[in-house]
């Protein structure tokens, strides 16, 4: 299995997309090139505003600009959009339901920058905030098409964004659709929900699982809030042996919790296993290393499937290695923190 690798899919696409949208502004907090908007700044200097390392004020000024009819797109690392300026995000932006777009890069354990740079509980926190929409992209097609989705939402939007070398998993003509899961495979033993970069990681194991006779439904989730997609409920109902979630986030409050809520509300009584950071902070290391260390990789998925089925599948590590690995991302993304 191999995918086209797209270099910096956001960079030129966002420039082209914003061309006929004069209300779209960019606010940046000293991570302009790191968030692939350096060229955007040079293309539209009158619509780019450097806010410096001062995120609390950036959130407030974004709110003021939105009240005046502009649509500010804040570009910085995920962690800096909600941890320090959470009160400003809530009172200045979310409460008045303003059209502010928070484009957060390097979500979860994608950064070797360590604990200070790793947004591992952003979805948990933002899901609890009224008026928020939360989106997470999983490939280059979604990086490109999430712009239209966010633009159409009449309130604040937080996007877990990808940068650098990004695989194109989904066809270019199948854009991101709000609150609509992508059904990647259907089956009746296990239902698997993955989001963000975990979808590509899970896909490494899916064909091996299917070869071993595991019937698996796999849905890629790109809208974390709202979470009312009927496809999710339908897929949950088909799972005979168990449900597994896989997210680049703490297992508390994110995709796994959202699925657990739906299962409880609908009385869907099969065991749920949540793959993700198990209530722990991480540390600075490569994405691949951390995914293995914290049991968030394809191996971890295979083990979870084995637990659900109550039998060993005898998939060897070498088989998994022959599937495409995400090593390329880690080496490419170590630069430009």
């Amino acid at each position: 299995m191999s995918y086209e690798i797209v270099a910096r899919p956001h960079q030129q696409n966002f420039i082209d997309w914003a061309k006929d949208k004069p209300e779209v502004l960019v606010l940046s907090a000293d991570l302009t090139n790191s968030c692939e908007v350096g060229k955007w700044r040079d293309t539209y200097p009158d619509r780019f505003f450097s806010m410096g390392m001062a995120e609390q004020n950036m959130l407030g000024m974004a709110a003021g600009l939105a009240r005046e009819g502009f649509e500010p797109w804040l570009h910085t690392f995920s962690v800096f959009l909600y941890r320090r300026p959470l009160d400003q995000l809530q009172m200045s932006v979310a409460y008045p339901a303003l059209k502010v777009r928070l484009v957060g890069f390097l979500p979860g354990i994608m950064t070797p920058g360590g604990v200070t740079h790793q947004a591992i509980e952003d979805i948990a926190i933002l899901r609890a905030i009224p008026n928020m929409t939360i989106l997470e992209v999983g490939d280059a097609t979604e990086v490109e098409s999430v712009l239209d989705v966010a633009h159409a939402i009449d309130g604040p939007v937080y996007i877990r964004m990808l940068r650098g070398e990004v695989s194109r998993i989904f066809p270019k003509d199948e854009p991101f659709i709000l609150n609509t899961a992508r059904i990647l495979s259907t089956g009746t033993d296990i239902t698997l929900f993955t989001s963000g970069i975990m979808t590509e990681e899970a896909l490494r194991a899916i064909s091996l699982l299917q070869e071993r006779g595991v019937s698996i439904s796999h849905l890629h989730i790109s809208t974390l809030k709202p979470f009312t997609d009927p496809r999710i409920i339908a897929a949950l109902k088909t799972a005979k042996h168990g449900v597994i979630t896989m997210e680049n986030h703490s297992i508390i409050g994110g995709l796994g919790s959202a699925i657990a809520e739906v299962m409880a509300e609908r009385g869907i009584g099969v065991p749920l296993q949540r793959i993700g950071l198990k209530d722990t902070y991480a540390h600075g290391a490569s994405q691949k290393f951390l995914m293995s260390e914290y049991e968030m990789d394809a191996q971890a998925l295979i083990r979870a499937v084995e637990v659900s089925l109550g039998r060993k599948l005898n998939i060897h590590e070498t088989e998994l290695e022959q599937q495409r690995s995400v090593t390329v991302h880690s080496s490419a993304k170590a630069e430009a923190l």
């Binding site: 004020n57 709110a63 009819g69 009172m91 200045s92 409460y95 309130g155």
Partner: protein, 300 residues
């Protein structure tokens, strides 16, 4: 004395009277804020601000819900400031704890119905104790202090992009100069050249725990703000001509009016409550009688 100044004096007097009457009727109120800021809010609403007129005093709205995504009919307290327009000013009030005083100023200037304070802190009313953006006179939600200056900075930047000529005013309290966000906002306003952003500060040197010098010092305040590239005018916040003069200065930078005030001005009996002036609740019938007497003096 010019008619403007007489009118503003009368508004200031009305603010103190209304807030004291309310405090007596409800056995509590934000009294010292009225004493310190009466001339500031009277000058803003009665002279400085170029607001569109309202045809008649607006009824205090009932609470109908919080802002929701996609709901465009939501009315903020901005409606009390008249329709917006490129030449008109805006006022973002930062210390929402001054709500009672702001409501009184709106009544005094014919923008809120005469009996508006009867709805203060009543269940189901928007005339809330600590205003949010549905409350009369509140254009944004600012009760978590020090957020208004950034919000107003964004509004001023947006208006600059649209080439609007109106000023964007912020009413602030001095305690907010203990918050880090205030300084982020100061540096950004200068950096982005927001010279139509103008701030009027009630420097009453008191906060919830008591005198600011015992809680966290903010002086030298004028030097601090000047260091961020702002133009600063320091003045007596009860001197109406001085307030009007400073407010009309045309500056090439964002402008801060540091108005030093007396938190017991016009109500000397409040002196006895020092050092904690933040909220007045009567200790008993004796104290209440003193304030009743002061009120009778005030309305003579």
């Amino acid at each position: 004395m010019s008619p403007d100044i007489e009118k503003i004096e009368s508004i200031a007097k009305g603010i103190r009277q209304r807030v004291l009457a309310h405090t007596l009727a409800n056995n509590g109120g934000y009294m010292s804020q009225a004493c310190s800021s009466a001339e500031l809010l009277a000058s803003l609403y009665g002279g400085i601000l170029n607001f569109a007129p309202v045809t008649e005093p607006i009824d205090p709205p009932s609470f109908i819900g919080v802002p929701e995504v996609g709901i465009h009919t939501y009315k903020t307290g901005q409606q009390f400031h008249g329709v917006t327009g490129e030449n008109y000013d805006r006022l973002i009030s930062s210390p929402a704890h001054y709500a009672l005083v702001i409501y009184a100023a709106l009544i005094e200037t014919g923008r809120l119905r005469e009996d508006g304070l009867d709805f203060f802190n009543k269940d189901g009313s928007t005339v809330e104790m600590i205003g949010a953006e549905h409350s009369p006179g509140f254009e944004t939600t600012t009760g978590s202090l020090a957020q208004a200056l950034s919000q107003a900075g964004g509004i001023a930047l947006g208006r600059k992009l649209k080439n609007e000529s109106g000023n964007t005013w912020v009413f602030m309290s001095d305690g907010e100069f203990q918050e880090g966000q205030t300084y982020e906002a100061l540096q950004a306003a200068k950096f982005h050249g927001l010279n139509k952003l103008r701030v009027i500060v009630d420097v009453n040197l008191n906060q919830c725990d008591g005198p600011m010098d015992t809680v966290m010092k903010i002086e030298p305040l004028a030097d601090r703000i000047r260091a961020f590239g702002w133009d600063v005018t320091t003045l007596d916040g009860h001197d109406i001509p001085a307030i009007l003069t400073a407010a009309s200065e045309v500056t090439s930078n964002p402008h801060m009016l540091l108005c030093y005030t007396d938190p017991v001005r016009g109500l000397p009996v409040l002196e006895e409550r020092k050092p904690t002036l933040h909220y007045l609740r009567f200790t008993g019938a004796d104290e209440r009688a003193k304030y009743e007497k002061a009120y009778q003096e005030m309305i003579k």
